[in-house]
Structure formats: C-alpha cells, structure tokens
Amino acid sequence: MVNPLDAGDLRIEPVPMPAPGVVRLLWKGRSTARNPGEVLGPYFQEILGEAQKNQSTVEMHFVALQHFNSSTVAAIIRLIQNARTRAVPLVFVYDEGVKWQKLSFDAMRVFVKSDGLLQMRSI
C-alpha cells in the first residue's frame, strides 16, 4: 500500500484495494508550489517502484483537482517518462466537463504511443 502525499494545498490519496493489479491515486486540492517536482518526483518514483515490483497499473485521477501550475505539468511529464522507462502502465483520468482539465489532458495525448503504456480516460 502506498502512502498519501500532503504538500501544501495538494493531497494525493491512494484508494485502498481498488482492483487487482491497480494502484489508484486521487489528486485533490491545488498544486501551486514553486518547484512541485521536488516533492512529486520522489513520491512518483516510490509509486512507480512499487508498481513495477507488483506489475501493477498506476491510475492517476485528477477529477477532484482544482488547479495546477505549469511546473506541475512538467512534473507530470517526468512521471510519464519514468513510467515508460520502467514499463509501468499509466492511466490518467480527468473530467472533460471541466474546461481546463479537458484542455490540459487532451494536450498530453501527444505522449500516448502505440506501446499502450499511457492511457487517457475522460469521464
């Protein structure tokens, strides 16, 4: 079981036993730190390490996230790259009814490749 992350106005909360082979993390609040990668980077590495060991898929649910800055976008790009390097499947779930989420995550489809390791799901 992975730990939650509390960093300023941001909380990333694991869902206990969501489904076999799935690590589900809920993003809540706002990610506005000056260097969010300093906190998110090591946390993501821990998640990816666990997922790689257990051959799990990591699901990041952004639906309850209110706002993130572009430095957080950069940290998420690093997550995508590191997940791909470790061959850990990654799923992003966002709310297409919220304009900023739809635009932000639609643009990140540029990182979706035929290897199927990154999936974008809208609700």
Partner: protein
C-alpha cells in the same frame, strides 16, 4: 449602466501571494461573469504571469513593485503584470523569443504541444515557456510584452 471590472494591486513577491490572489480574483470574477471555466482561465493567466514575474524579475532593488491589473467588461478581459526586468537581460531576450515562437505556430494547441515535447526532451524542464504556451492555449489568450525602462509589462488579452 456599463458593467466593468477593475482590479489594480501591488502584490508582495512571496510565492504564497500568488495562490491567494488567484483564488480571490477567480471568486470576484465568479460574481461578475457566469462562466466559471472562463473565470478559472483568467485565474490561470494571473497565476502563471505572477509566477514568471517572481521567478525571473529583477528583484535586487527593494523599492521595485510587482503590479497586477485586471480589467474586464462583457466579452473582453485583460490581465497585466508589471515587474522589473532589464530589457538587455537574458530572461528578457528569452521572453521575447518565446512570445515570437508562439506566433509562429498555426494554432495555440500546436504551440503548447510543441512546448510539452520540449519539456520532455530537456533534463531540467525549467524556463521552457510552457506556462506562456499554456495560457495561449488554455485561456485563448494573446500575450504581449512591452518594456518601459527597467520594467516589463506583460499583457494577456482574452475574449471569452
């Protein structure tokens, strides 16, 4: 009666000020405009421009001020962030280069996706112009920079 929004504030340069201002202005806009998505987009312009100002402004003189102005009327909102920046500095050159690069793409979406790919290709990912490209794309914002002595005035024009 003409419906008009006018906000003009000096902002302290502590990082924590940014989220306080963004949230306050979004709440303010929420009682003026009906579309919360657009209010959020304007809030994002405010926070990204203030972040850039605090990160890259020339804050060596205590008397220099970070200033935020938001003006709005039905169909048009303008966000202006003014801060000290030497026109001959490396960051001023990069800023002008980034704004020019945005205009070279056929769409704001193409410019933003190119910046995302650029961040992926850079080991540090910093100073990539991702924030500016994001504003043009997500907030449908036209960005311009105007230098006045040792100050730069960054303007984001939005027509929701």
């Amino acid at each position: 009666m003409v419906r008009r929004l006018l906000i003009d504030l000096p902002v302290r340069t502590e990082w924590a000020s940014i989220e306080v201002i963004r949230t306050a202005v979004v709440n303010c806009l929420g009682v003026v405009f009906r579309d919360m998505d657009e209010c959020h987009a304007i809030g994002t312009i405010i926070s990204e421009l203030l972040e850039n100002a605090i990160k890259y402004g020339n804050w060596t003189r205590e008397e220099d001020v970070l200033r935020l102005a938001v003006t709005g009327e039905p169909g048009h909102v303008t966000v202006v962030v003014e801060h000290p920046l030497d026109q001959g500095s490396e960051h001023a050159r990069k800023l002008q280069e980034m704004l020019a690069a945005l205009r070279r793409f056929p769409t704001a979406a193409a410019a933003y996706q190119a910046r995302l790919a650029d961040v992926a290709a850079r080991p540090d990912g910093g100073g990539s112009g991702l924030g500016l490209a994001r504003l043009a794309y997500e907030a449908n914002c036209v960005l311009t920079a105007e230098f006045d002595g040792a100050l730069v005035r960054l303007t984001g024009d939005v027509r929701p």
